[in-house]
Each structure stands twice: as structure tokens, then as C-alpha cells.
């Protein structure tokens, strides 16, 4: 470095190594060394973050490029978005296989450009031709308010789709049971399920009139096979009100 110009760093100044690392100006062993320093040296890591936050705004000038749909499939598979066979009792049995055996559900989510997960889910479910009753959507939250499941109810077909947002395994020797709680009514069972992937349930026709705005979906912990009393016996781990989209 020439010491002759006014903006030459003072001798005591450090080289802008963090910025060089962020930009990728050095490669090979030098880059490896900086990568290691980033892990080991907190101040250097802070410097890297400083530059990433500033220089990263240049990406605004980069043209977005088309992304083929299969990329999302690969990501979904790698992060454990694998759909699982249903273990929903009775009504949903005929729904086994088909779409849940494939990655179509997640492909659909990946393609949908909507900002709302709920909207994406419904796009996948059905694109209505005639004006049907609007689908219902609910975010089922844990007692601490954390969103644990997203659910949609297609009121044309009675299909209830339940998607775990986080891992909420049932205790050993127990299972989860899904309930529709009508406004001012008592809970009605939609079946038991294993919460390790998307679940599709067919709501019995006689329950459909109760599925409306402000009715709730709730999930309780039950003995294997489900509640024998017709009402939730274990703790309700997640619940949420339904809203029209």
C-alpha cells in the first residue's frame, strides 16, 4: 500500500479483513483462515456482521431470477418436510396415499407466491369455480401463544388439513385428537392423528354446519385410540379460532 495519499490507512489501522472476507476477495487458505477467525474471534465476527448488513443492501440491484419448482422439493425433503401416511381414524382412511404420498403439497406451497401461509394452503386445496362458502383457516397456538399448527377447512368438501408448524410429539403411549368446538357447543371429535407431518381429515357431513367463523379447532392428548368418552379427556395442547379467508 502506498503511504502517499491522504486516505491511506494509518500504520496502526487494521486491514479491512472482515470486509474482504464478506466480499470474497480472498480465496483458498486465506479464506479458510478468516472463516475460522469468524468463529473464534467475537469482535471479528461483529465486523463481518457489520459489513454483511451494509454491503448486502447492494443486492437490491440484483435482478431476481427464475427458480425451478423442484428446488423447493429438494429443500423441503432435506429439512424434513416429508409427508407421512395418515393415521387419522375412520373417515379419512380413504384419503391415504394420493397427494400425501407425494411432495405435491410442499411443491404447491413452494410455488405459491402469497405472503400468507394460510392463503398458500388454500390455494393448494382448491380453486373454486362457483362461489362456495369461503374456506376457514385457523392457527392453533400452544398455551404460550406459539403457533403449533395451521389448519384449513374446505367447506365444499369437508376436508380439514392440519399442518404442524413445529414438532409437538404426543407423550409416550398417547396420541393427539383433533376436535371441532362449535360456538357455544361441545367438542366433536375429528379423529386421532400423529403430528409429524401434514394430516388430512374428512369432516363428517353432519358436523359441517358447525364449522364456521369463531368455531374452534382444538387438539388434546388422549390415550392411544382416542378419547373413549366422546369428549376430550387429556390436556388441550393447542387451539385456535377459525376465520373465513
Amino acid at each position: 500500500m502506498s503511504p502517499k495519499t491522504t486516505d491511506t490507512p494509518e500504520p496502526g489501522d487494521e486491514l479491512p479483513l472482515a470486509a474482504e472476507f464478506v466480499l470474497g476477495l480472498v480465496q483458498g487458505a486465506e479464506r479458510d483462515a478468516l472463516e475460522k477467525r469468524r468463529r473464534d474471534d467475537y469482535r471479528f465476527a461483529q465486523d463481518v456482521e457489520f459489513w454483511e448488513a451494509r454491503l448486502g443492501t447492494l443486492a437490491e440491484e440484483v435482478k431476481p431470477a427464475d427458480v425451478p419448482a423442484h428446488i423447493w422439493d429438494r429443500i423441503a425433503e432435506e429439512v424434513g418436510h416429508k409427508p407421512v401416511p395418515l393415521s387419522v381414524s375412520s373417515a379419512a382412511k380413504e384419503q391415504r396415499g394420493g397427494i400425501w404420498q407425494s411432495l405435491n403439497f410442499w411443491r404447491g406451497l413452494g410455488i405459491a407466491s402469497s405472503a400468507l401461509a394460510a392463503a398458500s394452503l388454500v390455494l393448494v386445496l382448491r380453486t373454486p369455480q362457483a362461489p362456495p362458502p369461503p374456506s376457514l383457516v385457523a392457527s392453533l397456538t400452544l398455551t404460550d401463544g406459539k403457533s403449533a399448527f395451521m389448519a384449513t377447512v374446505d367447506r365444499m368438501t369437508g376436508k380439514v388439513m392440519l399442518m404442524p408448524a413445529i414438532d409437538t410429539p404426543a407423550p409416550a403411549d398417547h396420541t393427539h385428537e383433533l376436535w371441532l368446538v362449535p360456538v357455544g357447543g361441545t367438542p366433536q371429535s375429528l379423529g386421532t392423528f400423529v403430528a409429524n407431518g401434514p394430516v388430512l381429515v374428512k369432516m363428517p357431513d353432519d358436523m359441517m354446519p358447525h364449522a364456521g367463523t369463531d368455531a374452534m379447532l382444538a387438539i388434546s392428548v388422549e390415550p392411544m385410540g382416542g378419547s373413549t368418552t366422546g369428549a376430550p379427556t387429556g390436556p388441550v395442547v393447542a387451539s385456535g379460532k377459525m376465520h373465513e379467508l
Binding site: 474482504e20 470474497g24 443486492a59 437490491e60 413452494g110 405472503a115
Partner: protein, 195 residues
Amino acid sequence: MAFYSPLPMTMTRSDASISLAARLQAVGRGDRAALAEVYNSTSPKLMGVCLRILGERSEAEDVLQETYVTVWRRAGTFDPAKASAITWLVAVARNKALDRIRSGKVRRASTPLEDAGEIVDPARSALDEVEGADDRRALIGCLEELDDDQKWSIRTAFFDGVTYEELAARRGVPLGTMKSWVRRGLMKLRGCLEQ
């Protein structure tokens, strides 16, 4: 962009930025639906970033995949006080792309991607405009204080992810000259950004 209130009172476009950060934080808590949303709203941009650096579509696609798998695992470390969600995501993508070059799997053309031209994206999304708007204004202002060689070198290094050696070759200047341009430029930039 004066209409962006720091405290959005209504459903303005500011909400788009708040929710991207919120969604990224949700990914950090293991929210799979949030990952799909973050992917939907940001993957074309990150694809553009990777493609520009790697120059080859199949490589860029692989790196894009690695990027979102890494986002899934590391989103818990995203701190909205330090970076906007989009710059955090861009940093993950660029690092993955640079790692790919480091691994020797990619043999890039040594010439600039002329077809990419001057990179400006005329149809910037609301998200881009909101995210990191203050950081971006500061950076653009400070870059303007650098001389043209410094500015060109730093911008090209960012967009193309190229080394000092490649920058020097492209400009036909000795390596030492290029290092000097860039380092002085970066020091000046840092001083300006910290003011």
C-alpha cells in the same frame, strides 16, 4: 421513500418488511410454514445473487438449495437489530456461493458476465425497498464519496464474488494496485458508515 414511517400505524408496505423479519425469526423457532413463506418471497432474489456469482444455473440452483437448508438450521441466529432479514439471507447465499467456489467445484469464466449488464433491477419489490432502506441509503451515499476505481472494485467484488486477482486482471492493473484501491476504499467506506 419518505412515506415509510418507522412506526407503521396502518397496513402500509412497511409491514412487509416487519413480517419478513418476523417470519425469519419464526423459522428460527422451527416453523416450517414460515420457511415456505420466506422461500416464496426471497428465492428469486437469492437465485439472482447466486447466478451472478456462479455464472451457471445448475450450480446456482444447488447453492440456492444449500442456502435455504442453512437458513432452516441457522435462522435462530438472525438478529433483526443487526441486519435486515433480506441482507441476512443474502449473506448466507453469498457465503454458500463463495464456499462453492472455494471447493473448486465451479470453474467460472474469467470474464465478466456482460449479458448481466449493469445489474439494476428496475422492478424492485416493496420488500426490497423497505428492507434495510436506511443501511442502503447510507451505503450508497458513502460509496459516492469513493473515487471511481474504488467504487467499481468494491461493487464488482460484491456482485461477482471475485478475488483481488480476478479484479486486477479485469482492470489490467497490478495486483498491488487493486488491493490498494479496494482496501483504501473499504477503510474510507467504514469511516463514512460509522459517522
